[in-house]
Symmetry: C2
Subunit: 293 residues, 2 copies
């Protein structure tokens, strides 16, 4: 079967183009340009890469951006003081504190200190609660990115059986709520699977839409996927490879080569969900700037 790529990179680019246009319109009206701040604590390699990508994306579309880089030994108190400063800074429309944080800092405490309407990662309990209640709010960036990816690529979700593998707070659980609620995309029958699930393949083979966010490289094989399914792969893993100059390659939770031929649509890794997470972070920043949530 000829599958189609769910091209996150291209979809994210079209969203960024729209936002760049909105910046031009805001400027023309003499309004305040959206401004995103990112707080990075320590030198975790992946975190540095992600934060830099977010700052760069802001620059590309004309958003203001501020990177606050604190050393790994910064105290929880100082991180909270930084959050408080950003909460009260009228120039900053929204900000993120990149996770994971060093172990001596309580992540929940930091997230709860962020003003909900500046929480563009959508991790604050008040925002997640509003999501559950179908109220307008800042949705968590990665699940929202997946919803945008489905919407912008015209994938029908209503009445479909969506199976989610992985129940993380940032991805699996919120996407299961979003896909089941009465909206478009949404209105799917949703099954949430995890490490305790029995007969997993039996369940995943029922999926019209399969969302894989389990964080294990190559976990989903062809025999777990129904012919014609839409597969969204949230995983991203750096694996050694002799095929590349750098000596490594990025792979997902899905065995792409064997699964893709069974799919109607499938996300590539990289270039699938990753760019969409950044696009929805920018979108959330635009929403707060315009007071649309």
């Amino acid at each position: 079967m000829a599958y189609q790529l769910l091209d996150g990179k291209a979809t994210a680019q079209s969203i960024k183009d729209e936002l760049a246009q909105k910046v031009i319109e805001i400027k023309a009206k003499g309004g305040k340009v959206p401004h995103l701040a990112a707080v990075l604590v320590g030198e975790d390699g992946a975190s540095v890469t992600y934060v830099n990508a977010k700052v760069k994306a802001c620059e590309q579309i004309g958003f203001g951006s501020t990177l606050i880089h604190l050393s790994a030994d910064t105290s929880e108190e100082e991180v909270l003081a930084t959050v408080n400063k950003l909460n009260n800074d009228p120039e900053i429309d929204g900000f993120i504190v990149q996770v994971p944080l060093p172990k001596h800092i309580n992540e929940h405490k930091v997230v709860e200190a962020i003003l909900p309407h500046k929480d563009v990662d959508g991790f604050h309990p008040a925002n997640l609660g509003k999501m559950l209640l179908d109220l307008p709010t800042l949705l968590p960036a990665t699940p929202k990115g997946m919803m945008l990816l489905l919407e912008r690529n015209g994938i029908e979700t209503s009445g479909k059986h969506c199976v989610v593998i992985g129940r993380s707070h940032t991805v699996g659980t919120p996407i299961s709520v979003l896909m089941s609620r009465n909206s478009n995309p949404g209105n799917s029958t949703v099954t949430l699977c995890h490490s305790r699930t029995q007969n997993l393949a039996e369940i995943t083979r029922q999926a019209d839409i399969l969302i894989v966010a389990i964080g294990r490289e190559g976990f989903v094989s062809a025999e777990m996927v129904k012919e014609g399914a839409v597969v969204i792969d949230v995983g991203i893993h750096r694996v050694e490879s002799s095929e590349t100059k750098s000596g490594f390659k990025l792979k997902g939770d899905v065995l792409f080569d064997e699964v893709a031929p069974k799919c109607s649509f499938i996300t590539p890794v990289p270039g699938g969900v990753g760019p969409m997470t950044i696009a929805s972070l920018l979108w959330n920043t635009y929403l707060t700037n315009q007071k649309l949530v």
Copy 2:
């Protein structure tokens, strides 16, 4: 097959007995006895019944209780002022505003005005968000009641397939989150079904645990249920009956007579989930009183 009743009335009574004992201990230590307030706006028959049952339950176990009954034409502003007064009253540990409210009052606005740590119905977005994040919080009363019912009756949920019919904000959606998270009860594979679900019976027949909260009398028939399933019926409907003096009978969303023989456990209606909702409301009030959330 001989089924067992999941007796909500008896389970709720044992919880109330525990709470009554705790009141005695609190008094012995000279502490403040838990106090629940309920705000009722208007004269909706079912609401009057529910609120009275809650007040009566408080009296039975030695909790303080306050009923604030406002007329149906009370303005939103006055209701919000009442909420604010209860928020600031140190005597009141927790309170509920009985829903539905008259149409001229914005329910979400009222719920969001309640201080989260006094929201013993567990409807505030901040509490629902914490639920989603697995943080200690006041859980919504009906889903929490179901969890207590499963726990107290020793029903294994880990690795089981739990199918929920109905995606309401107060029952279906939160119970789907609670049943899937890493806890006991919990750790189930959860499928959330609703009005857009296709081939519903095919899915419900896979359920080891079937939770029915669709609000349609007699919706679930025997052919939708797997042999040996645990069935929890959240529905409650007043239907005409020639068998009773009052001329009506309470029925659930499940056709009890034909479904029960296929079940390992099933809740009766009445006497199943209803009393458990009240028990968990009392439990939540105890938690706030003792500052345990």
